[in-house]
């Protein structure tokens, strides 16, 4: 087991590594490859710089879709804002046919569910499947009983697929505002009951990877444009953390393994690893 500070030290060391699109993912035939980004929609310079790294890494690691963890559009949501905060920074990816699958954050107008490029299909929550992976897009801003009933039903029906849930508010984080314990009280029992493997969240503008909590891996990937520098804190529950720059995550699922690497705004790899799904973990 890594020491409390080991992950942070490694993260810092990796961040200082020479530039270059170093892909540590196996790129196996038939694997499910995707990008994870959170809290991206500022329209600011940093968003564009992070987007450039996504494009750069995408040349070596051709992912086919991107999951957005909410706060897709900050501030006003006029048509020109969607242009400046989404279609322009990700133009190269959109032109390549990369599908963006958004969750809603607390800064997002729920009417974003009608915006076709976000693929919510007019709904606040949805599920979709890629290969052997079933994704559950949850609206953690408003966990009404109808949504929970839907989640229960869909998880129960998801069979032996990988189960990945993603939504805006982190159930575990060391950031200043702390974990969303109320959301956790509602969602975690359902995740445990149905064997969710991995959860991705944003909201906190940092990167964190937790050791399995109740057998579930938790990632916070909320720094694709905004940053709260110094806002992660040492914890024995953490496997890795990074709060010195913006970041996003690349993931590949092949069989029972999920490979991932997290990349900073300057293109440095700040975390990487492989996770086994439930049932086949040592």
């Amino acid at each position: 087991m890594r020491s409390r500070f080991g992950a942070a030290i490694i993260a810092v060391a990796l961040a200082a590594a020479p530039l270059g699109a170093q892909v540590y993912l196996p790129m196996k035939s038939g694997s499910v490859r995707f990008l994870v980004l959170g809290d991206a929609g500022t329209g600011g310079r940093e968003q564009y710089e992070v987007a450039n790294q996504m494009v750069r890494y995408g040349k070596t690691f051709p992912f086919t879709f991107a999951i957005m963890l909410g706060d897709n559009i900050y501030g006003s949501e006029r048509p020109q804002d969607f242009d400046r905060k989404f279609t322009r920074p990700y133009k190269t990816l959109l032109d390549k046919g990369i599908e963006f699958d958004a969750a809603l954050g607390n800064h997002d107008d729920p009417n974003q569910r009608f915006y076709k490029p976000f693929n919510l299909g007019g709904n606040r929550y949805r599920t979709f499947k890629k290969g052997n992976v079933r994704f559950f897009v949850i609206d953690s801003n408003y966990l009404d009983p109808e949504q929970l009933k839907w989640l229960d039903k869909e998880l129960a029906a998801s069979g032996s697929d990988w189960k990945i849930a993603y939504f805006h508010h982190p159930l575990y984080t060391t950031a200043r505002r702390g974990p969303e314990v109320e959301v956790r009280a509602v969602l975690e029992p359902v995740f445990v009951k149905y064997g969710v493997d991995v959860v991705f969240s944003g909201h906190e503008h940092i990167y964190e990877r937790y050791k399995p909590q109740k057998d579930i891996y938790y990632f916070t990937v909320g720094g694709a444009a905004k940053l709260r520098r110094g806002d992660t804190h040492p914890s024995p529950l953490l496997s890795a953390r990074f709060d010195r720059d913006r970041s996003f995550l690349l993931a590949e699922i092949a069989g029972d393994s999920l490979y991932f690497q997290t990349v900073s705004r300057i293109g440095a790899v700040v975390d990487k690893g492989v996770l086994a799904r439930r049932g086949v973990r040592p």
Binding site: R78, Y115, Y142
Partner: protein
């Protein structure tokens, strides 16, 4: 997705019974019609239904919205719907939907729910308010788009009467707000609903 109101939800009735523990609702099998809480919620449902009927006529005139690549289309339609709603409800005032009886009952439910939560949850709620708007919500106005929407306390929702999918509750400071989601119009406000 939600489409109808269902007032038979056990949690809700359980919560309401707790509120009335000192007085009525001693018999769990009591018919809603004989239960003052049931009557208050039934009245709320009628008021929501009345709004939904009005809304339907307005939606018919501006059209339903389907997913589109054009944000301009979404914005235009939302603006038109909002204008129609605001004009049609020009006389709307606080308490039209959140009646005093309903407000008293719901404020008690919320207070009880808050008092049951540990400090850590309370602190989270306060932190959420950090990002929140420093504005006083007003009936029949737009929710200011310069502010984020407050995340609704997840454990509180099951205690409140369900709403059609076009509507939602929000907490803004210590107000409970009823909001038309697609139009972004504040339909009613309940001051002092949430403990400071």
């Amino acid at each position: 997705m939600r489409s109808t109101l269902d007032f038979r939800r056990p949690l809700l009735i359980g919560g309401a019974c707790a509120v009335l523990a000192a007085g009525g609702c001693k018999n769990e099998e009591a018919k809603p019609a004989e239960n003052p809480t049931g009557a208050v919620f039934a009245d709320f449902a009628k008021r929501v239904d009345a709004y939904m009927k009005l809304r339907k006529t307005l939606v018919d005139s501006v059209g339903e919205l389907d997913p589109t690549k054009s944000q301009a289309e979404i914005t235009t339609r939302a603006t038109k719907l909002a204008s129609s709603i605001i004009a049609a409800r020009a006389q709307a005032k606080p308490g039209d939907i959140f009646t005093p009886e309903f407000s008293a009952l719901v404020a008690t439910l919320i207070k009880q729910e808050y008092s049951r939560r540990p400090d850590s949850v309370q602190e989270t709620r306060e932190d959420q308010q950090d990002e929140l708007p420093d504005f006083v919500p007003k009936v029949n106005t737009l929710y200011p788009t310069t502010y984020p929407l407050a995340t609704f306390p997840a454990t509180l929702l099951p205690l409140l009467p369900p709403l059609p999918e076009q509507l939602e509750y929000r907490v803004v400071q210590n107000y409970l707000v009823l909001r038309d989601i697609e139009a972004n119009v504040i339909l009613d406000v309940m001051p002092n609903a949430v403990p400071s």
